[in-house]
Symmetry: D2
Subunit: 123 residues, 4 copies
């Protein structure tokens, strides 16, 4: 293993990456539920991007296949954690808002969310 | 959807990316099975890296959650295709070589490969 | 392949199984969203149960490993379709009801649903 | 939760189920790698069958959706563990035998195994 990016939950990596982060964008609250966690999402995605670059280095350096696969699993897990966080915010804001409003829109919102979950499950 | 990177199998994206590729490294055949497909692997990983950057732009631009989730599914699918390709080469070269040699190493190799498959399945 | 249960979506299997079904239970509308689809759920679960019994026959008859694995994938897919259907009904009824009521319960409901989705994703 | 079958690894369930098991079939060593673990596989599949019947009872009794989903995750996990065990034996016996023999059959065997893994990953 030649990279230090495998451990997606490493506190050290997190701190290091936080130091490298661009200044927080002072965006106004956007239209979607996940906007309030934008910085956390971007930080997480930058870490996954680093893992993907780590994978490229591993392939270039002929790292043992099994170690490459371990890094792939870590990146996939990172993407799934991001997706679950996004989904939770979507259910809490968009879906709940449609339900609170009443009317037929809730059925569309639920069907749309379920289709997205099905896509996550089947990849 | 504000990016063009969602469609992991897009021929156009593939051609465009090929144009951007660094010159093929003239590495000698490395010790692992996947070395002979190194360029294809690097190209695939660069495309996934582009998808992860696309996700960051989507979050920054407050793209609708469900569209972000669709892009996550595409990236995860790309990572899984890469993992399956790597695994196939590993079985064909490393595991088969251990089997051809005879001796007890084959059991370790198979157990190691199965553990890697389990990690892929459980993420 | 010695069983006819592999194709989870086979119309013929569905018709055959419908013929074998116990009389529909005339249960009153239960407290949960999925109650109204109870018969469809039970039919689907009985088909999956048949697939699991088919797997036992395949193992007893030394059917080729890869064909057994194909049947496992079909059963897993059946279970996931059932889970997605249940989840959709849960979001539409339980989660939406909590949202319509207002109050803090919606957060618990969404967190609980997300945890269930995470468990499905990680198996 | 109205059933005791959720915990797929429960020692108690295992012991109970062992008591209910049919006498071990005295089958001769079959042609495939998994034959030597036939009894363990059948025991595991009978437990999964019990979980699927447990799911039917849960639906009939209007058990809370989230608890039903937890049982679905346990059953899916059981099926995946079975698949991984089978796959390991397949790699150790069938794939390794093709490799030891030499000749072109190994490529077909590896491609076939990889396709089976892909099917497991995508369900």
């Amino acid at each position: 293993m030649t990279t230090t990016e495998t451990d997606e939950t490493s506190e050290a990596a997190e701190a290091a990456e936080a130091g490298l982060s661009a200044p927080a964008p002072h965006s106004p609250q956007g239209p979607h539920g996940y906007s309030s966690h934008k910085d956390a999402h971007l930080k997480r995605l930058r870490r996954i991007e680093g893992q993907i670059r780590g994978l490229q280095r591993m392939v270039e350096e002929d790292v043992y296949c099994i170690d490459v696969l371990t890094q792939v699993s870590a990146s996939t897990k990172g993407l799934q954690s991001f997706a679950l966080q996004l989904l939770e915010e979507h259910l809490r804001h968009c879906v709940a808002a449609a339900a609170a409003e009443g009317g037929p829109e809730i059925d569309d919102k639920v069907a749309e969310a379920t289709a997205a979950i099905a896509r996550l499950l089947r990849t």
